[in-house]
Amino acid sequence: MPAALKIRQPGAYSTVQDLGRFGYQRYGVPPSGAVDRFAAKTVNLLLGNHKNSAVLEMTIAGPIIEILTPCTLAVTGAAMSIKINGNLVDNWSSFAVVKGDVIAIGHAESGCRAYLGINGGIDVPMIMGSRSCYTDGRFGGHEGRPLVAGDILAYCDDQAGSIECRTLPAAYRPTYSSHWELRAIPGPQDDYFDQGLELFFSQKFTVTPQVNRMGYRLKGPKIERKNTMPASIISEPSLPGGVQVPEGGDPIILLSEQTVGGYAKIATVIREDIAKIAQTMPGDTIRFQRVSIAEALDIERKNKELYSFLKEEYSNAQSFAVLGKQYYKSEIFSEKLSNFLRQI
């Protein structure tokens, strides 16, 4: 496990995450994991890693990192500027760095969370089947906490993938605005509401400053329960995307660090749209769009096909590059080259 990255400044809130920890929610352990799964999977794709390789989730402002060993990096998600020794490089593209380079990642100009990946994935201990950091539980990621200055991260060299630089074509990159449409399926307690449900699916809500990986508190028209329904429900498991409505009527979108909830959930944001929540900033507006389970499935299927397509494209590009390299090293090429040199 070569030590690769030395954190000079940690950024606003940077944690190591993979795609999450599953099978332990019955023990009170939430899934955790990258909130924007699309950006996390894509950064790994650009590096030739497995999609579940651990990456650095950077929130609002990125870190300053010193490179300790040659490696390949990429940044996806929120538009944070990336400078190598002061020179800008592109987001959504992998780039090679060498020992002594200093990478400065700026603040989010649009979106909220960016993902830094490294060839092979960040090497932190696997705990309960995942490398994701769960800060409240104080385990996972790097020592169970957000990064601080002086931390050193290693990469898994046994899993190191291609080091040809790749870029995600602009057509596939999401754009982050300040207004968001989130697709959601009514329930599990949509029967607690009547006009409230109509209001929820037609009005705009504003993202408040009270947001984190546990949940997003929104402000907007008050959502009222039917007057026959109790203020709370008997506590039950909550899943990422659940929108609970507490007594005051201001909805809260529950995210990936919550296991139990005691308020009625009016709707649940589909998984493919949780990545959008990850990129909202306080002050942004949200409108919920009602979809059926069948529609959510179609969306998931299409996104899965897109991912497979990109993966295929990159594996072709990679093998082409490898073939090219072999050609340049081959005897046939050196013979041609020497013939050419003799002629001039």
Partner: protein, 238 residues
């Protein structure tokens, strides 16, 4: 067990959708021990082995949630299977729950509020310890923090309101009372429970092969130990 009344179990399971990858299965409208035991029995039957495409089963007070891969699982088929399993449950006897012994050193530095719990209820500290440790507590569900058990069964004789001002840190293993509930803190956290003692074992340790001492469906018994035994058990376990 404690009630001979008619079962509160719904005759058919009630399904609710939790987005595109969760299915909530409700067993009854209220909290009831027998129903909760049925839920744990159901969950055990269901997970051996987990049906293809089902990622996890999360049991709770009166319901359970199945998390599934929507591109693998046929939701209608899954509901059919769950309904038939639910019907069979009615005729299946409930297995005896596992009893987990939790040693507790009551009072002193480990249970600073023991005297207050005693005086609030017009009892001596010894009586509080006796009442607290002679009950067997069913674990209805686990959640809120890793390993935190939601327990039933606290005797009304020792119900005590929360502290007016919560502590900023409660050490891991602390055993406390808040209103009609008793519980144990698996990790250090802020909290407003009246602390009556502490357990020397780690209720939750992410680095242990089995990180959890308690699972939903278990029953807990708190056993009083001396402060010398507390230290022995603590180091013996470490």
């Amino acid at each position: 067990m404690e009630n001979n009344q008619q079962s509160k179990l719904f005759s058919e399971p009630v399904f609710r959708h939790v987005g595109d990858r969760g299915l909530l299965v409700e067993f009854s409208a209220e909290i009831d021990l027998e129903t909760n035991q049925k839920i744990h029995a159901f969950s055990r039957l269901l997970e051996n082995p987990l049906p293809e495409g089902v990622i996890e089963i999360i049991p709770s007070y009166r319901s359970l949630v199945l998390v599934y891969e929507p591109l693998v699982v046929d939701l209608q088929e899954l509901k059919k299977m769950l309904t038939s399993l639910y019907r069979d449950l009615e005729s299946n006897p409930i297995a005896n729950p596992e009893i987990v012994e939790i040693p507790v050193c009551y009072g002193g530095e480990f249970g600073e509020d023991l005297e207050q719990v005693a005086s609030h209820n017009g009892l001596s500290a010894e009586e509080v310890i006796r009442i607290h440790s002679e009950t067997i507590y069913p674990v209805y569900m686990i959640g809120f923090t890793p390993g935190f058990p939601y327990l039933g069964g606290l005797s009304a004789k020792i119900h005590t309101p929360r502290l007016a001002t919560p502590r900023t840190t409660v050490p891991a293993g602390s055993v406390g009372i808040a209103n009609n509930q008793t519980g144990i803190y698996p990790i250090a956290s802020p909290g407003g429970w009246q602390l009556i003692g502490r357990c020397p074992y780690k209720i939750f340790d992410p680095l242990r092969p089995n990180p959890f001492l308690i699972k939903a469906g278990d029953h807990l018994r708190f056993t009083p130990v001396s402060s010398q035994d507390f230290l022995k058990l603590q180091t013996g376990k470490a």
